[in-house]
Amino acid sequence: MKLTVEVWRQESPADAGRWERHEVDDAASHLSLLDLLDLLNDQIAAAGGEPVAYESDCREGACGACGVTVNGVPHGPVPRTPSCRQHLRSFDGATRLRIEPLRSAAFPVVRDLVIDRSALDALVTAGGHVAINSGTASDAEALPIGHDDAETALDFAACIGCGACVAACPNGAAHLFAGAKLAHLAMLPQPALERGRRARAIVDELEQRFGPCSTYGECAEVCPAGISLAAVAAVHREGIRAWWRGRDD
């Protein structure tokens, strides 16, 4: 299969960046999107050019390192699937791909397709943790958790921290990410002891670093971990609950 690939090149955060066009002649349909980038880089290197910088690591959809925008869609045309698990066979015969970074004001471009997503970790640093020191936890069986509660907590905890939700949002909001963390920890008895102070800390940080949520719902459409819009509702619920109660739990 012959593919036209237009890829974003940007030397540094300060550089304005530009599109670069390449023809890839032997893009087999079993290739993943990242295999295609590898193939493209071999081709660019063979011609003496500098390969395109992009991020990936586990290539199994768990680490959240990968993430590029393909034809305007974060991660690529297959819904709710990370870039590493997008395969050309599912691209409906597309012959032209425009590949650019996940774009958002909160994610400055480092180089080419590599972005700085540290704003997401700032939300976790603000309050996405549990105040239990090593060795001081009580017996995990001492606090029974219902099967369905554990599964629901896991539905939210499945977030891989890729940032596609932010890139998909016209406002650049990170409510899906922040809400997934809040909902996951609110469901579990030990972490729930700090539910109120966690919500205040994360919501404050969220408002400082990211845009507001207008419930467009684009975030959930692209989420490779299948986080539902209920996470967005969790941001509002947890925030209002914390404000209303005025307590740490």
Binding site: D42, A53, V130, A140
Partner: protein, 651 residues
């Protein structure tokens, strides 16, 4: 390095010494308690005067950094990722073992130790395995408390499942994403200490050298991957928790950036390297469908709880799997190992698959895989149950292959996975360089010659959360009042200068070939010569080939751009250069060890039934290599008092 292919192994065997790991001379189940009572303490008020460097933010690194910071030490944590959560612990799927023994399936700490020591084919340190078992229970308590949503029964208790090499159910899990959930919880705990100001987190920093001064580890040299700045960081102690090097095989289940550089650089500065050739091939990876593919995809071993492994009885059978009648299928694991069946340990399952594939009974377009069939389980338990247990794995399989595993069997193949080898450490996890500690897969002591499934998340957690927080302070207690090494010290300047020179050397080769291409070739050499099974001739050939490849690397490497900004080609070149040196030591170690043990299978040493044949008279020891030209092989004698030595038998 001299050309090792020409070195006589006998000469190497004359010079090493016996190593003492410092295990107290008591029964192995008491050893850790006795050792703990010997550890010196640092009073709470003095802890903030000490600085500790932790390299790596996976389960071992994030755990150690968080726990040390919780105690009051100042920690500098380093990761080459953009975020601590991305460390490769994230990719472990199936679960984490713990000897909590709540159910009435007759599990116990002792049985955990027996399974692990036997699984490792009697090449692990027994006292370390007892520690692993003894601390396993509170690992689950801790990770549960800090936010890992373990699977629960309807009654609210923790769920468990079985893994290879055991006959009880002691594996705790969160669907097929256990590593991810534990890793995210650990990264959160680390970020909590960042907020508290006790951890300084350095993301996108790669460790390129160790600073040794006054006979002890006192710092590291890093390259900032974004702006290329090379600088030293000094501390009272250094912990390496930088993971495994299975990625040396190019096609492996490891993340594409997993590498050996940090441990290899420490090795060059004096840390002994234990059992470098002990590499586990995971039996349930997906077969590679092209040589250019960057890695292979792992499918959790937990699938073998419900999937049945088989190949067609007739070589070259080209029918679709569902068209092959039952009597023309060979469920070879169930046939050869009736007691453990599809849950035979990984080394045995991988080797058995390799035997079938080499005999022409492999399936799939490349004839390089075997079937893992869920049809019986789906018929017995229903599709919904199978989906709840393995849904995300089935979805991943469908993404990668375009085939539906609910309808047709999966195709799986062995792939390089976990390395039991790593830096040698004593009972305190301290390497042969005082002040340099190691945790998780970067170390070497628990798993012997083969790791049991779900023991790797456990060993990373036990090291990070419960062992290093005791042993690092023991080292620090002797340094009370000592300032950190001055950044102008000659040892620091020399280490920084050597890193600069190396980066410049990589940029200056000026050849035509990308590092990734050399890496691919190296993987093929190792798979042929130092893979699932090894021979003397094959290893000698591999040594020659690795040496020639390294020569070509340093003559024909092409690295575009410069060192002053993000340059992934430069990063890759440095890692491949270290892989080339490590590969040589792996082959040498495998050549030296004239026995088969666990995943180290020498064709020359097998039983009448084709199983690994140990030579306990000569090789009941850990090989630990000292860097040199040629390298010197030391050995740590192993003693087993709680688990009687026997031939592994899973029949």
């Amino acid at each position: 390095m001299t050309d090792l292919a020409d070195t006589t192994i006998d000469a190497l065997r004359q010079v090493g010494r016996a190593l003492d790991p410092g295990v107290p001379d008591v029964a192995p189940d008491q050893a850790w308690a006795v050792r703990r009572s010997q550890h010196r303490l640092v009073s709470p008020g003095n802890r903030r005067h000490f600085r500790v460097i932790v390299v790596g933010t996976g389960l071992a690194g994030a755990g150690a950094a968080a726990a040390l910071a919780e105690l009051g030490y100042h920690v500098d944590a380093f990761t080459f990722h953009d975020a601590p959560r991305r460390a490769h612990s994230v990719a472990a799927q199936g679960g984490i073992n713990a000897a909590r023994a709540r159910a009435v399936d007759n599990d116990s700490v002792h049985r955990f130790v027996v399974d692990t020591v036997k699984g490792g084919d009697f090449r692990a340190r027994e006292a370390d395995v007892f520690r692993l078992a003894a601390e396993s229970s509170r690992v689950i308590d801790h990770l549960n408390a800090i936010g890992a949503p373990f699977a629960r029964e309807y009654g609210g208790s923790l769920s468990t499942r079985s893994f290879g090499g055991v006959q009880v159910s002691r594996t705790y899990y969160t669907r097929g994403q256990t590593g991810q959930q534990l890793q995210v919880a650990a990264a959160q705990a680390l970020l909590r200490q960042v907020k508290a100001g006790r951890v300084t987190l350095h993301t996108r920093h790669e460790m390129l050298d160790l600073v040794v001064a006054d006979g002890r580890a006192q710092g590291i040299v890093t390259r900032d991957l974004v702006n290329g700045q090379i600088r030293a960081h000094t501390a009272h102690a250094v912990v390496l928790a930088t993971g495994g090097y299975g990625s040396v095989f190019h096609h492996s289940t490891l993340a594409v950036h997993s590498n050996a550089t940090a441990v290899w650089r420490a090795h060059l500065r004096g840390a002994l390297f234990a059992s470098p050739s002990f590499v586990q091939f995971h039996p349930t990876a997906l077969p590679a469908d092209s040589p250019n593919q960057a890695k292979t995809t792992l499918m959790s071993e937990s699938l073998r709880n419900d999937g049945r492994v088989w190949v067609p009885t007739h070589p070259g059978d080209a029918r679709r799997p569902n068209e092959i009648p039952e009597h023309e299928r060979d469920y070879y694991l169930e046939r050869r190992y009736p007691a453990y069946g599809n849950l035979a340990p990984r080394d045995i399952s991988s080797r058995a698959a390799r035997v079938e594939i080499d005999a022409g009974r492999g399936v799939g377009p490349q004839k390089n895989s075997v079937y893992l069939d869920f049809s019986d389980a789906i018929a017995r338990l229903g599709r919904a149950t199978i989906a709840e247990r393995y849904g995300n794995l089935f979805a991943m399989y469908a993404d990668v292959t375009g085939e539906d595993p609910y309808v047709e069997p999966m195709r799986i193949a062995p792939a390089a996975h976990f390395v039991m080898g790593g830096l040698w450490s004593d009972f305190d996890l301290m390497t042969s360089v005082p002040g340099l500690f190691v945790g998780g897969e970067a170390g070497s002591s628990y798993h012997g010659a083969n790791r049991l499934g779900a023991n790797s998340l456990l060993s990373a957690c036990v090291d990070g959360w419960f062992t290093l927080p005791l042993t690092v302070p023991h080292h620090l207690a002797g340094l009370l009042g000592e300032p950190v090494l001055d950044s102008d010290a000659p040892e620091v300047a020399a280490a920084v200068a050597s890193v600069r020179e190396r980066v410049e050397a990589l940029l200056a080769v000026g050849g035509r070939t990308r590092a990734s291409s050399f890496h691919r070739e190296l993987g093929e050499v190792l798979r042929r010569g130092c893979g699932v099974s090894r021979t003397e001739a094959g290893l000698r050939a591999a040594l020659t080939e690795v040496s020639a490849l390294r020569e070509r690397f340093w003559a024909d490497l092409w690295v575009p751009g410069d060192g002053g900004r993000l340059n992934q080609e430069l990063e890759s070149a440095g890692r491949v250069a270290d892989f080339l040196d490590l590969a040589e030591l792996m082959c040498l170690d495998a050549l030296d060890r004239t026995e088969s043990a666990g995943a180290h299978f020498r064709d020359e040493f097998q039983t009448a039934l084709g199983e690994a044949k140990r030579d306990d008279d000569r090789w009941c020891s850990v090989s630990a290599w000292e860097h040199g030209s040629p390298p010197v092989r030391h050995h740590e004698p192993l003693h087993f008092s709680a688990v009687p030595m026997a031939e592994r038998d899973y029949r």
